[in-house]
């Protein structure tokens, strides 16, 4: 049974074919480490993806897997989950796949609260098609398709997800295996749609895109993790925290104990405003970039509601009798 599974059980026989050094390897590893812990039998996992480097993911997982078409994975996954709510359905997508061509399916899956886990590998570039700007690329970025710099202001992926009322929203980093696993496990255990942005280095077309935040020596000062129930504290010395000055977040420095004014993080507030504020925290100069769990709110899932209607109909009207249905309404005999 599930409890005896190990990460090896989730490695398929296909050779992993990303560029050496690609951040996708680390994420694959983390996922393969988290899946065996979930107490779900292997055959119940389905990994659905779109098109892109990230989207080759299912081939490397020894689960059921479906490499679909560009941008449509959330829609396909919605069908999978509605058809069989027993399955644990995961979507792996790139920033182009999820936010560019697939933006609409993503936000609709979120608003419906379909119980699928969307992992968006954000490398802020189109990898598979060799280096064009993505909707996550910075304004002014020079790429093959934007030789004088991108003129498109990018999305804030977490803001999009929160705007669509995603009930679970989180962010982590490819190379922060420990943090990533905690986030993935929380997503897996959450009942409802989950959106997880994972910073992922594309060492070929957008190398070091996240180093300014994620490099070991700056990480503690430039990022802060939102951990449910914990005060929002950061800094190498863990001596700074985020407080709220009514309308504005502020950084408070302290010695010793964490002062009370430092926010104790609660991602389960129904109102998404504070999560939304956190998604924009790093727009402010000198504020850290938050990772961790931005939102986690319980609500019945879409497929639950759909199947409850079926059960209600069956308990009220009995299980459907096809012959009766065909012959319903006004009939006559010849």
């Amino acid at each position: 049974m599930a409890t005896t599974l190990t990460n090896k059980d989730f490695k398929s026989d296909q050779e992993v074919r990303w560029c050496p050094g690609c951040g996708d390897y680390a994420i694959l590893n983390s996922v393969q480490n988290v899946f065996p812990k979930l107490g779900i039998p292997r055959e119940k996992f389905v990994v659905v993806s779109g098109i892109g480097c990230a989207s080759r993911f299912p081939y490397y997982m020894d689960t059921y897997g479906f490499h679909t078409i560009h941008g449509r994975a959330p829609a396909v996954a919605t069908g999978v989950k509605m058809a069989n709510p027993e399955l644990s359905v995961w979507v792996v997508s790139g920033d182009g796949d999820a936010l560019s061509i697939g933006g609409n399916h993503l936000i609709h899956a979120m608003r419906r609260n379909v119980d699928i886990k969307v992992l968006m590998f954000n490398n802020r570039i189109y990898g598979l098609t060799k280096g064009q700007a993505s909707p996550a690329s910075e304004l002014g970025k020079k790429t093959k398709s934007t030789p004088m710099g991108s003129a498109d202001a990018p999305f804030n992926p977490l803001a999009i997800a929160l705007g669509a009322n995603a009930r679970f929203v989180a962010r982590s980093v490819d190379i922060m295996a420990g943090h990533l696993r905690v986030v993935l496990e929380a997503a897996a255990r959450h009942k409802g749609s989950a959106f997880v942005e994972i910073f992922q280095n594309c060492n070929i077309f957008n190398d070091k895109a996240f180093d300014a935040w994620t490099e070991k020596d700056v990480r503690d000062d430039r990022m802060v993790s939102l951990d449910p129930g914990e005060p929002i504290v950061f800094g190498k010395e863990k001596n700074r925290g985020i407080a709220l000055d009514c309308l504005e977040p502020k950084v408070v420095s302290f010695d010793g104990d964490v002062p009370d004014e430092v926010l104790r993080w609660d991602p389960s507030r129904t109102d998404p405003t504070l999560s939304f504020m956190m998604a924009h925290l790093d727009d402010r100069p000198n504020f850290p970039l938050p990772i961790g769990i931005f939102r986690q709110v319980d609500e019945p899932t879409y497929e639950q509601r759909v199947h409850e209607q079926i059960e209600t109909a069956q308990s009220k009207r009995g299980k459907g009798d096809l012959q009766g249905l065909l012959a319903s309404g006004n009939t006559w005999v010849v």
């Binding site: 398929s12 996992f45 897997g65 490499h67 058809a83 012959q323 006004n330 010849v334």
Partner: protein, 618 residues
């Protein structure tokens, strides 16, 4: 009412026998003509007549009341047996206002019966309809038998003591008119009474008003000499069985549901509303006690993608749309071809291109069905011939999809979708078997094929030990692994084509109505069935030798189709497009064809096809 033009005023007790009658009910969108038509249809069906109907909605949302754009019509033809179309020209017109008269009078047979609501022929009503003079007075209707009835006043009178406001009272006048039609053709009123009681169970006042109007209409005919005679249409014996009246869209929904039941699969229906396909969604959404899952997606791409996901998970994935939506599904259908999963895509065709004529009918998506996807993406195509045939062909689409693990296109059109006809209800157990390709646990490979059909096995997520990956990249035969080799690609392209061709092994051969060789074969597909059948029968009555082959399986074609086609000196192909089937048959069988086209957003009449047949056969 073939003999209508011989009719003269007679004693009211006189009954005239007619072989068939065509009635058109016309009024403002708000006048409830669709409802009146449906009630007349039900009652007629219950009388055991064969029939065909044609609703004709205005294209506008709600045009201003009383204008030509706001006219809504409903036509029914009924006869003792073998009605093929709703009829070319009405024998009876009910016109609730001047616009309804003006829009329809040109279509009538000579000496047709025209019932008008004189209360709505005030100068401002006439002006709205664009009449300069009152047609009831200027002699322009002299070729018809006009019956003027004060429908509004009489209806108000009938409901007088109920204390309704005028607007609500006036809303009942269609039932007054219906009562008159029931009297005229001796239809039973009970089905309508029953329907009213159900519909207005919680609104007693409205119920009572409508019942009174209905009965008052009947009584008015009984009491006065408004009509000179009553009409009787004798019934011939139809095939024994239990019948109901059914529209194409309802039949489509039931066909899919039946296929799910018989294959023991859960029906998954993903769809995005679009005229004239939305009613299939509305219908399926009702089948919850059958476990059918209906999903209103954010767009057509999501609808088909979710259906593919559902099929992947083990459901019977289906989707339904029309023109613009069909275009959007092409990419995902290619995925279904590559991953070889069952999928039924219903296309209820409408007038195009682009948004086109959304409420009108057309059958111009045939070549798109065959070729409208990038690369070599062979896709089976079936088409229904009549409203009730939608049941059979939607079922066939699903049977093929499951048996051969492939997307299948089912074609209907606006005319079939909204039209209705009596349907002999089949026995569920008599429906064809739908074998589901099962994986072999001893020797499972995702692309290991059944030799007969070349179908791959359907291993559903949740099955231990069969974990595997599928996707849109070219697959290695057998393992299903990604493969970029030249040889494998060529093999797979041919295999996919062959798999579709092999469907011809288990679908029926092409049947022909009429002599199996000779001078002239009329070949049709889809909703031209009724008009062609009627025209061919007519031609035979005139002594012409004509056969009719109606193609319901359009890809692959039945195996014998080439032989059938080459057995006649001439082949006539009437189509509601610019000659799509004709091009295809020429390309595939190298035969000469005569293409006969009509692209007007409305079906062929029997007369049009007959005239063409006569021209070619002589």
């Amino acid at each position: 009412m073939g003999t209508a033009d011989s009719g003269t005023m007679k004693d009211p007790s006189t009954k005239t026998e007619l072989p068939s009658v065509v009635i058109r009910l016309a009024g403002d969108s708000g006048d409830g003509m669709q409802l009146t038509g449906t009630q007349f249809t039900t009652s007629t069906a219950l009388s055991g007549h064969d029939l065909a109907t044609l609703p004709d909605f205005p294209a506008e949302i709600r045009a201003p009341a009383g204008t030509m754009n706001g006219v809504s019509g409903y036509q029914i033809q009924f006869a003792g047996t073998d009605v093929h179309t709703p009829g070319d020209s009405p024998d009876v017109l009910v016109a609730m206002n001047p616009a309804a008269l003006r829009a329809n009078v040109g279509d009538l047979v000579r000496n047709a019966l025209v019932l008008v609501n004189v209360d709505s022929f005030k100068p401002k009503d006439l002006a709205k309809a664009g009449y300069e003079n009152n047609p009831l007075e200027d002699g322009s209707l002299s070729g018809y038998r006009v019956i003027e009835v004060e429908l509004t006043r009489l209806t108000r009178q009938a409901v007088d003591d109920l204390g309704l406001d005028t607007r609500s009272a006036d809303r009942c006048k269609n039932f007054f008119a219906l009562g008159m039609m029931f009297w005229l053709f001796e239809r039973p009123m009970e089905p309508t009474e029953k329907w009213l009681r159900e519909k207005f169970a919680n609104r007693e006042l409205i119920l009572e008003a409508n019942l009174r109007a209905l009965k008052a209409g009947w009584a008015y005919c009984e009491a006065t000499e408004v009509f000179a005679e009553r009409y009787v249409v004798p019934r011939a014996a139809a095939e024994p069985g239990t019948y109901r009246n059914i529209s194409g869209n309802t039949a489509t929904a039931l066909g899919l549901l039946a296929a799910a039941e018989r294959s023991d699969l859960q029906l998954f229906y993903g769809s995005y509303p679009i005229t004239p396909a939305s009613d299939v969604l509305h219908e399926v959404a009702k089948y919850k006690e059958f476990g059918a899952v209906s999903f209103q997606a954010e767009d057509e791409i999501s609808a088909v993608a979710a259906a593919i996901g559902a099929s992947y998970a083990g459901s019977l994935g289906t989707t339904c749309t029309s023109g613009p939506g069909m275009a959007l599904k092409a990419e995902a259908m290619g995925l279904a071809t590559m991953v070889e999963l069952p999928l039924v895509v219903c296309n209820i065709q409408r007038g195009g291109p682009s948004t086109g004529l959304p409420t009108k009918t057309e059958q111009a998506d045939l070549l798109q069905s065959l070729f409208g996807r990038p690369s070599e993406t062979p896709t089976p195509v079936v088409a229904a011939a009549t409203p009730s045939d939608c049941f059979a062909m939607a079922y066939e689409a699903a049977r093929i999809a499951v048996r051969s693990m492939t997307p299948v296109i089912f074609l209907s059109d606006g005319y079939l979708a909204n039209g209705a006809e009596p349907w002999r209800i089949p026995n569920v157990e008599d429906l064809p078997d739908i074998p589901v390709p099962q994986p072999n646990p001893e020797n499972f490979l995702p692309y290991l094929r059944e030799p007969e059909t070349l179908a791959r096995p359907w291993a559903r997520p949740g099955t231990p030990g069969m974990e595997h990956r599928v996707g849109g990249l070219e697959k290695e035969d057998g393992t299903g692994n990604v493969s970029y080799t030249a040889e494998n690609h060529e093999r797979m392209v041919h295999l996919r084509a062959e798999k579709i061709q092999k469907i011809a092994d288990y679908i029926p051969e092409q049947s022909v109505d009429g002599p199996d060789s000779g001078e002239l074969l009329v070949v049709g597909w889809g909703s031209t069935y009724g008009a062609i059948t009627g025209a061919v029968e007519h031609a035979r009555r005139e002594g012409l030798s004509v056969s009719h082959a109606h193609i319901r399986y359009l890809n692959p074609f039945p195996k014998n189709l080439g032989d059938v086609l080459s057995s006649y000196r001439k082949v006539l192909i009437p189509e509601m497009n610019l000659g799509q089937l004709a091009l295809l048959l020429r390309g595939m069988y190298g035969i000469e064809t005569e293409s006969f086209t009509k692209v007007q957003g409305k079906p062929f009449t029997e007369a049009e096809v007959f005239t063409k047949i006569r021209e070619m056969a002589s």
